[in-house]
């Protein structure tokens, strides 16, 4: 019984982290068809922002969090405008540009902070017991935040004018443009939103882990797996896929403790198996022979 509760809680928690990352990534892919390899690098930048604010300047972590979200979202918009927008028509070049961007961030951070492992304080410290399982408040926060972000995003996309613009651009960029939507601006806004989300994730996930300039690599792969499994550009898909992979990881850890290191490989195998049956992911739109 204890085992089942453990698995459920473990799955929900790691699923929430994946969901937060994947939703942001999905958003910009849906609107601008940009595969942003630097997505998790922005998440790393946010973590360092909080480190500077909370650890070096001695402010409350909440200020660091706010500063991180604003600064990183701005940086995201600037880099979109300056580096990605001019070459958007060249799919390959955009891919490489985002990889190069991530490398630049990583190198700059390691020049400033060296490769030393650092950490940031939790927003809410401590833990509570849930049915005999110890759970961090921070993890509860992650879980609630994932749900909240979902709701806020839903409202934003469905009830606001910006949301309408984003959705129509995602469906058909050219027609949206013809209908008087400033497509370039929508893309930039979405980039800001997506990167801001990455920063937000960094802010609530990083207090439980370690900071280092290479920390963007691991989550990047899992995030990709989630997004592909859920279907590219589908936010609902990313959300559900995140929990599927989260539960898969928890199952591996609890049922095969000797193979805990395989949790990443198992999650990726699940993704591949699902894709074999549904090449467009769980909720993806099948780009029928896009020409």
């Amino acid at each position: 019984m204890n085992l089942i509760i453990n698995i459920i809680i473990g799955g929900l928690i790691s699923g929430s982290t994946f969901a937060l990352l994947a939703i942001g990534f999905s958003l910009i892919f849906g609107v601008a068809r940009i595969v942003n390899f630097a997505h998790t690098a922005f998440y790393m930048l946010a973590a360092y922002c909080i480190y500077v604010a909370a650890q070096l300047m001695g402010l409350h972590p909440i200020w660091g969090m706010l500063a991180a979200i604003v600064l990183v979202a701005l940086l995201g918009m600037i880099s979109y405008k300056a580096l990605i927008n001019p070459i958007r028509e060249h799919e390959g070049a955009v891919l490489i540009a985002t990889i190069a961007l991530a490398m630049i961030f990583q190198e700059v951070m390691s020049l400033i902070f060296t490769g030393t492992y650092l950490s940031v304080p939790a927003l809410i410290g401590g833990y509570f017991k849930l049915l005999g399982v110890k759970v961090f408040y921070q993890q509860l926060l992650t879980f609630c935040a994932a749900l909240l972000v979902m709701v806020v995003l839903w409202v934003l996309l469905m009830k606001t004018k910006l949301g309408l613009a984003i959705r129509s651009t995602a469906q058909d960029r050219e027609v949206a443009n013809l209908m008087g939507i400033n497509e370039a601006r929508v893309a930039m806004m979405t980039m800001g939103l997506s990167v801001g989300l990455a920063a937000f994730t960094g802010a609530i996930v990083v207090p439980l882990t370690v900071l280092e300039p290479q920390m963007w690599g691991g989550p990047l792969v899992m995030m990709m797996a989630v997004v592909v499994l859920g279907g590219l550009g589908s936010i609902k898909g990313s959300f559900i896929a995140a929990y599927i992979l989260g539960f898969a990881e928890a199952l591996v850890v609890f049922l095969a403790p000797m193979g805990a290191y395989l949790k990443g490989s198992v999650a990726l195998s699940i993704m591949i198996l699902v894709l074999l049956i549904r090449p467009e992911g769980l909720f993806g739109v099948y780009f029928e022979e896009e020409r």
Binding site: V35, H90, A100, L262, S265, S269, P279, E280, E289
Partner: protein, 346 residues
């Protein structure tokens, strides 16, 4: 005697009329000469090492272009082929004591097998789905390597492999000649009917299928061919470094091959090869500013892409050569009329 003169004359005519008229062809000729003559000017072990490794990665980058550039099947896990080739050659050499001249091609066949194994399921996927799925394969294989350390050497890899040849100059010539040969073969493939179909698949798969071509078969062919060449480069790497470790399956390696290819310009074969010959020595040269090495590398890549999104060599070629609007034959940029049909250029 007269026959010899006849053929010499013919060769001269070909060189004069087919090679010297286009700067890009002259450059390729010079490049061949440079690669073959380099050890005559310097026996510096370090320099030869850099050029040997550069040549190995040049084969690797060109093989990515053959698959992903030409057929448009974005492969973000190309290190899989490299790693399988390296591990295959290393295992065969170590356990069956097969010498390098056989273990490298056999390792490459293992990579072909890997290409088929991942190619068959991946045929149903396209575009970004394919790119992100292929990304996963080397990671899964790394997991397996760690799971069976007694056979694969785990994180330590397989070491104690036989040298490629007994001297550095020998290594250099083996790799350089292979690189020139294999890249020419790849270029010839892309220039043949198969290559044209590959290219057509990239542009419009439905149209190709509509004209009665079994695109599935051709895509699998692309996977196997590319896997073979990448496997060769992996095997050469293993024998040159004398170790095949998990780093040959690194995410970083998969990324860097994509960087090379797109930096140089895809769908060209010569683009990725040239890019490796620019970027790999550049990265070595940047040891002068050790701390800022990777940073400057990334900045250079980003800036070049910003101004030449089609790739460095595609851009350069456009600057020095013009295509005749009437007969589609390329001319040096200084000409005002086409060299074949005399139509006015530009």
């Amino acid at each position: 005697m007269r026959l010899i003169f006849f053929y010499l004359g013919k060769l001269f005519t070909i060189i004069k009329n087919e090679v010297l008229v286009l700067p890009s062809r002259v450059a390729v000729g010079l490049f061949f000469l440079f690669m073959l003559l380099l050890p005559l000017f310097t026996k510096d072990i370090y320099l030869l090492r850099i050029f040997t490794l550069t040549s190995i990665f040049a084969i690797f980058a060109a093989s990515w272009d053959l698959l992903s550039g030409f057929t448009g099947q974005m492969n973000f896990g190309h290190a899989l082929f490299f790693g399988v080739g390296a591990y295959g050659a290393a295992l065969l050499n170590l356990h069956a004591s097969i010498p390098p001249w056989a273990s490298v091609p056999l390792g490459a066949l293992c990579a072909v097998l890997a290409g088929l194994i991942i190619g068959i399921p991946c045929l149903r996927l396209r575009g970004t789905y394919l790119a992100l799925t292929t990304l996963a394969f080397p990671i899964i294989l790394t997991g397996l390597i760690f799971a069976f350390p007694s056979f694969t050497g785990g994180e330590l890899g397989i070491s104690g492999i036989v040298r490629l040849t007994q001297s550095r100059v020998g290594d250099y010539y083996t790799v350089a000649v292979l690189m020139l040969g294999l890249c020419t073969v790849m270029w010839k493939i892309t220039d043949s009917n198969i290559g044209i179909i590959f290219h057509a698949i990239r542009e419009d798969e439905v149209a190709v299928r509509a004209s009665g071509v079994n695109t599935t078969r051709y895509k699998l062919l692309a996977f196997s061919l590319s896997g073979f060449f990448a496997g060769i480069s992996g095997g050469l790497y293993a024998h040159f470094m004398r170790i095949a470790g998990p780093s040959t399956l690194d995410l970083f390696l998969s990324f860097s091959v994509v960087i090379y290819a797109i930096f140089g310009g895809v769908v060209t074969i010569y683009g990725p090869v040239g890019a490796v010959f620019v970027l790999f020595p550049l990265l070595e040269f940047l040891r002068v500013v050790q701390n800022y090495r990777t940073l400057m590398f990334a900045v250079v890549v980003l800036l070049i892409l910003l101004y030449m999104p089609d790739g460095l060599f595609a851009w350069l070629r456009d600057k020095i050569e013009k295509e005749c609007p009437r007969c589609k034959i390329r001319n040096i940029a200084t000409r005002h009329t086409c060299r074949v049909c005399t139509a006015p250029l530009d």
